[in-house]
Subunit: 102 residues, 2 copies
Amino acid sequence: MKSSKSSCGVENTLRIVGAKWTLLILHNLCDGKRRFGQLQKALLGISPRTLSLRLHQLEKDGFVTKKIFSEVPLRVEYTLTPKGQSIKSVINTMKKWGLSRE
Amino acid sequence: MKSSKSSCGVENTLRIVGAKWTLLILHNLCDGKRRFGQLQKALLGISPRTLSLRLHQLEKDGFVTKKIFSEVPLRVEYTLTPKGQSIKSVINTMKKWGLSRE
């Protein structure tokens, strides 16, 4: 990501969070930690494979932390890192704009 | 668009401007009117077909106005409508966030 950084902030943002579902996953995590199944339930229409891929990428990019609890059944929780929290400004502006649309 | 409006502002925003290239087209138009060729040149990698489809959708949704000047060669210019201008708040926040990313 760093090496391909563009001088255009909008392009950078889209490269990081522009993939389908990514912003909605982050939006869901804004309210606190979520388990995989909770995210899948909240994001109507997402396939487990896509959710898994997106979460993996977000973890790799440092936006999300995955925590595994060795319980039966296995509990896996995702939370936003401080870097992930920073996207809230973008999400809030989109939320406000989206709600203002007729 | 209206009939499928979601109660979630972020989802609404993504439904309106979430298609690949759409935000970058709007971003380009923020600086003023643009001809088709100018947009194509600015959006490196976009196909004429995709640019045409996106502009058509933006026109249909009331974000962009198309003006045709009967000159030779034909001049076609695109500008943001007041509704289109309102997306600037989203674009500016994305720009700021994108530039703050390392």
